[in-house]
Symmetry: C2
Subunit: 109 residues, 2 copies
DNA sequence: AAAACATATCGAAATATTTCAATGTATTAA
DNA sequence: TTAATACATTGAAATATTTCGATATGTTTT
């Protein structure tokens, strides 16, 4: 059976099945490549919690550092920020993870 | 329906389904977070080619730089090096990509 | 054995990232 | 309206990564 790529060989295997560009992929990979940010992501996944107040308790970093890491996760699209009074709430953007996985899956087949 | 995590809540969701540690995940993410290394991976995926000779033609970098990037991909486990005469052949380790995707999938569900 | 070739390693300069004290901004409480 | 709270931004030092010329190592060719 022919795959799409054999039928349309001019289509880039690494950009066809989702809208992610190589630049976006790179930014997400960078965001994932830090132990503090991975911890933050896992905490946000466990329970959508307010940021610095809650996250600082689990990570040994100053407030501006936590803020800096959160910004990178947000800029990569992995985390969605939401203002709630004078606090912030952060949540995981499942779709961006799915797109990232789709991009990756071109390598493991 | 109960998930495994509800049945065994003491098991870490991010380390159960594969053997990858957070440190390994971090190293792979870092390796993926560079445009040159992504290009190299895509080229290796397309056709298992000899390294510097073939890869240098597609990337505007000096030979030691290509070697340096390849080393990071190898250290991350994404690429398998193989000596063939005086050349090297590099190939993708599908399994490591699959493990990485498994680790990631805990975030997108 | 000497020359040529393919790639790795070293070391240093250029560049990028991480970190935090100080300060700014917006929101709620007094 | 002044205090306090929650978080973002700035700017600078510490640290890590990228890059490449020079050189080393191992393999094939002559």
């Amino acid at each position: 059976m022919l795959s799409s790529f054999q039928l349309w060989p001019f289509i880039d295997k690494f950009a066809f099945f989702n809208t992610m560009t190589a630049k976006e992929f790179e930014r997400i990979s960078k965001a994932l490549g830090d132990p503090h940010r991975l911890k933050i992501l896992q905490e946000i996944k466990k329970n959508k919690c307010m940021a610095c107040a809650c996250i600082r308790e689990m990570i040994d970093l100053a407030q501006p550092s936590v803020s800096h890491h959160l910004k990178q996760l947000i800029d990569a699209g992995l985390v969605i920020p939401e203002k709630e009074g004078r606090e912030m709430r952060y949540s995981i953007d499942d779709k961006v993870f799915t797109d990232y996985i789709n991009y990756l899956s071109a390598f493991s087949q």
